[in-house]
Amino acid sequence: MSYNWNWWIFFEPSLDGRNTYLATLLWGACWTIATSICAFALAMLLGSVVGVARTTPVAWMRGVGVVFVEMFRNIPLLVQMFLWYFVLPELLPRDAGMWLKQLPNGQFYTAVVALGLYHAARMAEVVRAGLESLPKGQRMAGQALGLTLPQTYRDVLLPMAYRIIVPAITSEFLSCTKNTSVAIAIGLVELTGSARAMQENSFQIFEAFAAATTLYLMINLVIVFVMRGVESLAVIPGYGEAQRKESLV
């Protein structure tokens, strides 16, 4: 009843008859990366807009921001995927629904949208926290110089807020990458999905999962490495040091 290890399995042809198992895993990793990058780009964009909306003095914009955030972070991601994939096309007019369903790579687009919105809600909170962590005087200083509200956000508040939240962006990006795996529930064959498929067909469970875990670790490392670079670009001479000094005293 003991488990039969077989590490050579990676070089055997997989079910599709064309690629080895290793190649299918790597393809899966590519889908993971593509989904994650697209979804996170969407999340950054929308999240910034919503995060800014939540800090404006305009009441209705704040309201819209709250609704967006609460909506997308209080429903499990998996359920959101189902809603986008199975429910949305049924709610649309018939032709639009059909078009949506027959879109090639529909799972990919669905996963990008679902993940993008889910993480946009969380990015919005991150951006908001970044903006709120700035001294209140910064906004006033910008406005006191005659900058309009949009100018104040663009030239004064956001450049600082983004710098402050770089670490939080990193961890959101990592979490977004991991969450792409939920898309296997709608049939996207990303990394976890291809490991699962390999396991189903080769029955080498632990080899498949070990390989997937290793690939995830590598993707993580790359992201962390790249974001370190971003972080060092974002450093402002004198700024961090002052902070550090303060925390010592």
Binding site: P135, G137, Q138, M140, A141, G142, Q143, A144, L145, G146, L147, T148, Q151, D155, V156, P159, M160, R163, I236, P237, G238, Y239, G240, E241, A242
Partner: protein, 242 residues
């Protein structure tokens, strides 16, 4: 130049300003003092519309600040403001701090703005630091940059909110010196400060606030000579004891 009439403002039930009335003529220097929480910062911020008011009227150089139709950014560009915590933009170099609003608001060309900026940095003695970031300067230097940044907009009046109270004692004077010079040149100034030495030296009038009211509004000589209200007396005795 600046007129406040019956200005009132509340946060919920709490009245921060009640019926404040005063006016500042061109070239006048007015010092505002009073205990913590008395509404000094709020009052000074209503002047350029950073704090909206509930009722009353504020007129700055003929413009009614509290009117909904007022172009606030335009007004604000004409009134300089200096904050307790400097509020330089930390991601911009010193010269960029001075250039930003000139370009975005006054639509000056970048080269003109930089020239104006350098001239002002020279005036506050900081040309050498133009390429540094705010975090690399001492507090006193940062506050002088903040004053230069406000001056770069060619303001018709300047507002100061406790410009020296976040500074180490050794740096206070380098900032006060710049302000004294500004006053001597005839700038209209409204200054919230506890530095009574400064008030004695350059103020024309002193306004004393307590619990949101203007309790005292007197010529400098009268204020330091025979303050009328008991509260002002009490405050002065506390602050001048040293």
């Amino acid at each position: 130049m600046i007129t406040l009439h019956n200005v009132t403002k509340s946060y919920g039930k709490f009245k921060v300003l009640s019926n404040c009335t005063t006016s500042i003529a061109k070239g006048e220097v007015v010092v505002v003092c009073g205990p913590s929480g008395s509404g000094k910062s709020t009052l000074i911020k209503t002047v350029n519309g950073l704090e909206p008011i509930d009722s009353g009227e504020i007129i700055v150089s003929g413009i009614r600040v509290s009117d909904p139709g007022t172009n606030l950014p335009m007004l604000r560009s004409k009134v300089g403001m200096v904050f307790q915590h400097f509020e330089l933009f930390p991601h911009l170099t010193i010269i960029q701090n001075l250039v930003l609003a000139q370009v975005k608001v006054l639509k000056r060309s970048k080269s003109v703005a930089e020239k104006t900026g350098m001239a002002l940095l020279d005036r506050v003695g900081l040309v050498a630091h133009a390429a540094k970031f705010p975090g690399q300067l001492s507090g006193g230097q940062q506050q002088r940059v903040a004053i230069a940044r406000a001056l770069a907009m060619d303001p018709i009046a300047m507002l100061f909110d406790e410009p020296t109270s976040a500074l180490d004692p050794e740096m206070i004077n380098e900032v006060l010196d710049v302000m004294v010079e500004l006053a001597r040149e005839g700038m209209t100034m409204m200054v919230v400060t506890h530095e009574m030495g400064f008030a004695r030296k350059v103020a024309n009038r002193v306004i004393f606030m307590d619990r949101g009211e203007i309790v005292e509004d007197a010529e400098k000589e009268d204020f330091f000579g025979t303050p009328r209200s008991e509260r002002a007396q009490h405050f002065l005795s506390k602050i001048l004891v040293q």
